[in-house]
Symmetry: C2
Subunit: 412 residues, 2 copies
Amino acid sequence: MPLLVMKFGGTSVADLARIRNAAEKVRREVANGYDVIVIVSAMSGKTNELVGWVGETSPFYDAREYDAVVSSGENVTAGLMALTLQEMDVPARSWQGWQVPLRTSSAHGAARIEEIPRTNIDAKFAEGMKVAVVAGFQGISPEGRITTLGRGGSDTTAVAFAAAFEAERCDIYTDVDGVYTTDPRICDQARKLNRIAFEEMLELASLGAKVLQTRSVELAMRYNVRLRVLSSFEDQTEGAGTLVCAEEEIMESKVVSGVAYSRDEAEVTLVSVADRPGIAAAIFGPLADAGVNVDMIVQNISEEGRTDMTFSCPVDQVARAEKAMKDARDRGEINFHDLVADTAVCKISVVGIGMRSHAGVAARMFRALAEEGINIKVITTSEIKISVLVDRKYMELAVQALHDAFELEKVA
Amino acid sequence: MPLLVMKFGGTSVADLARIRNAAEKVRREVANGYDVIVIVSAMSGKTNELVGWVGETSPFYDAREYDAVVSSGENVTAGLMALTLQEMDVPARSWQGWQVPLRTSSAHGAARIEEIPRTNIDAKFAEGMKVAVVAGFQGISPEGRITTLGRGGSDTTAVAFAAAFEAERCDIYTDVDGVYTTDPRICDQARKLNRIAFEEMLELASLGAKVLQTRSVELAMRYNVRLRVLSSFEDQTEGAGTLVCAEEEIMESKVVSGVAYSRDEAEVTLVSVADRPGIAAAIFGPLADAGVNVDMIVQNISEEGRTDMTFSCPVDQVARAEKAMKDARDRGEINFHDLVADTAVCKISVVGIGMRSHAGVAARMFRALAEEGINIKVITTSEIKISVLVDRKYMELAVQALHDAFELEKVA
C-alpha cells in the first residue's frame, strides 16, 4: 500500500473545527488509496502556555521536566485527530512518541532522532488501521525520559517518519500556500514556485524564508524525501503548494529561483590589522567563543603588511563582537587601529541551482543593483547563491530590482 | 528510609501558586526525613476542558483515545510539581504512568490497577531522588495503550502506591479539612473526626460523604494503608485532618461516628405480588438488567399467597424501574396489582463500629425520629449501619435530631 506522511502545524489544528478540516484532507488521501501517517503539532497557543508555566515555575528549569510538560500539547491533538477520523469512519489511532517508540538522543529540548522502528505501527496497518496519528516534536531518550526535538521539531518528525516508512511524499500543511520567489509582503510580483530543489530550499530557509525549518530540509535531502508545502486553509488541487525535491525531478531548472533577504545585519570592519599567518584564526576564534554568528567575511588585499578585515553578523551581536575584539587586542593576540561597525545594513541573496551551469549571474545581479544606484558593501558567493550586503534603506528596492532582473514574475 | 505518599487533588494544584503551596508541604515532609511519592491530579478545570473536547469531537468516542487525551492534564501537573520542588532544592522528578509502569486492565476509562513494580522508582530513590511525582489517574494496558482509572482515580492511585511501597501513611490533600460527623452545611454542630475506621468510612463514602471515593477506601482497607484526609489550604499541625485506619488503632470507639444522608431517593412498591419461590429473583433480575441501582429492599409478610415488595432507588431511575417491571409483567414473569412510586423520600443513616458491641442503637434512633414526628417508611440495617427512608422534607430535621441523640457534638 503506498504511504503518505501529512503534517499539520499548530494553526492548522488550532481548534476542533480546524482539526476536522485537517482530518477531511487526510480522509481524502485514504480514499485515494493511501495509508497515512499524520504528524500533529499542539493546538496553537497551547505550547506557549505550557512553556510559560515552566518558565514561571523555574527560570533555570530541568530540561527533562520541561520536555515532560511541553510534550503534552501534541498528545492532546493526536487523540482528538484520531477521534475525528474515526467519526469519519476512517480507522485511526493516536501514537505518542514512547509508543512508537521514536528514539532520540538525551539532549533534552533539542534531541536528535536516532531511530524510528516500524514494527509497532506496521503491525497496526496490517490489522486494518489506515491512519497513524503521531504526536510530533517528541520522543524518548535512552533513559526512558520524554524528549522534545526543539524548534521545527514537528517538521523534522514528519520527514523522519517519511524516511523510515519510505513514504511516497511528505506533505507539510501550514498557513501559507507554498514557497515563493521572494517575500510577497515586500514584492507584489512574487510568484509561488511549483518545485524547488532541496539545496535551494536550504539556502532560502537559512536565509529567513520561514516556511520550513532548515533541519527538516537537510533531513529530507539526506533521505531524498519529497516534501510538499501547502496551505491547510485552501482546497487541495493537483499540484497545489510547492514540491521540494531532488534536482533531477526539476525539468527546467531556472537560473535563479528566489530572492531572499535578511534585515538586521551589521558590517564590522577591523581597520589596519597586522597581516600575518594565523591572523584569521586569531580574530574569528574569540568571536566564536563569544557566541557571535559571523556570516560573511572579506579580507582586503594587504598593503605594507597590514590589511582590513570585514565581517557581518546580526545587529544584536555587535556589542559582543566589539568586546571580544578589544579583549583580544588587550591580550596582545591581535592588533588593529580601529573597529568600525555599520549597523544599518541588510543582506540580499539570489539562489538557484541553475547558476552552476549559467555564467553571468553575478554580473547581471550587480548591474541590476547599480542601475538602481545601490552600492554593494560586501559580496560572497557559493555554488548556488550570491549574497550582497547593502544599506538597509535599499532593502525593498534591491529585492524588487533583482526579482525583475531575473524575471521571477514569469516563474510558474 | 520511611516513605510517605501525598496526594493533591485538582483544587490543590489549580495554579502555579497552589502548586508551590503543595510543594512546600512536600518539602517539609522531606525535611522530616521521609522519602515521598506525590500523586497529582490535573489542574482543576483542565480535565473538564479535555473531556469537553473529546465529547464534542465524538459523541460515542473510542475510550482508548479518550484516555490518551484526558490523561495529559496530570502529566502537566507532575512536571510542574517536580520543577517546583527542584526550585526548593528538593531532588524530584516526574513519572508518567507508563514510566513507572503502572499496569492496569484494558478497561479504558475505568481500568483496574494490576501491578505497580517498584524497580524503576526505587532505583531513583537509591540514586538520591527524594520525591517521585507521579501523574495520578493513569496507567498502561497490556496492549501498551494509556488507560485512565475513572472516578476517584487519583485517590486510588495514591492508595495503590502506598500499598506497593509500604508507605507509613497516605495523605490525601483536598479542599476540606477532614471527615465530619455529618455535613456541616446542614448541621451546625457537625464536628471533625480525628480518626475513623475503614469500615465506617466506607459506609460514609458510599452514602454520599464525598471526601474519599469508595474505591480508594476499599483498597486502603484491603492493604491496611493508613489514610489521612486533610486540607491543603491550612497549615499542617500534628494530628490535622482525619486519619482513616484499622479499627484496632481507634482507642475508644464511639457507638456512632457519623450521620449520613442521601437526598434524591425514591421508594417503589409493587402491590400484591404473587408470593412464590423465586419471586425476588424474577423482580430484581430485570431491574439489574435495566441498570436500576436498587438499594433497600423490604418484603411484607405474605397474606393469602400475595405480598407487597418495596425497594428504593435513585429518583432518576424510577421511570426505568417502572418500565422494567411492566415489561416483566407483560412477559408473564411476575404479577402485581399496582406499582406505586414515592419520589419525595431521602435516606438517613447512622454509622459506627461501636454498634457491634452496643445494643439499643436502633431503638435510640427510632425514638429520636419519633420525637420529631418523623415517620419511618423503610428500615435496613447492617453490622455497623442503620438506614431509614423518610419523607424528604424531614431530611435536615432528621440529621440534626440524630446528631443530637448520639451526642456527636461531643466528638473530638
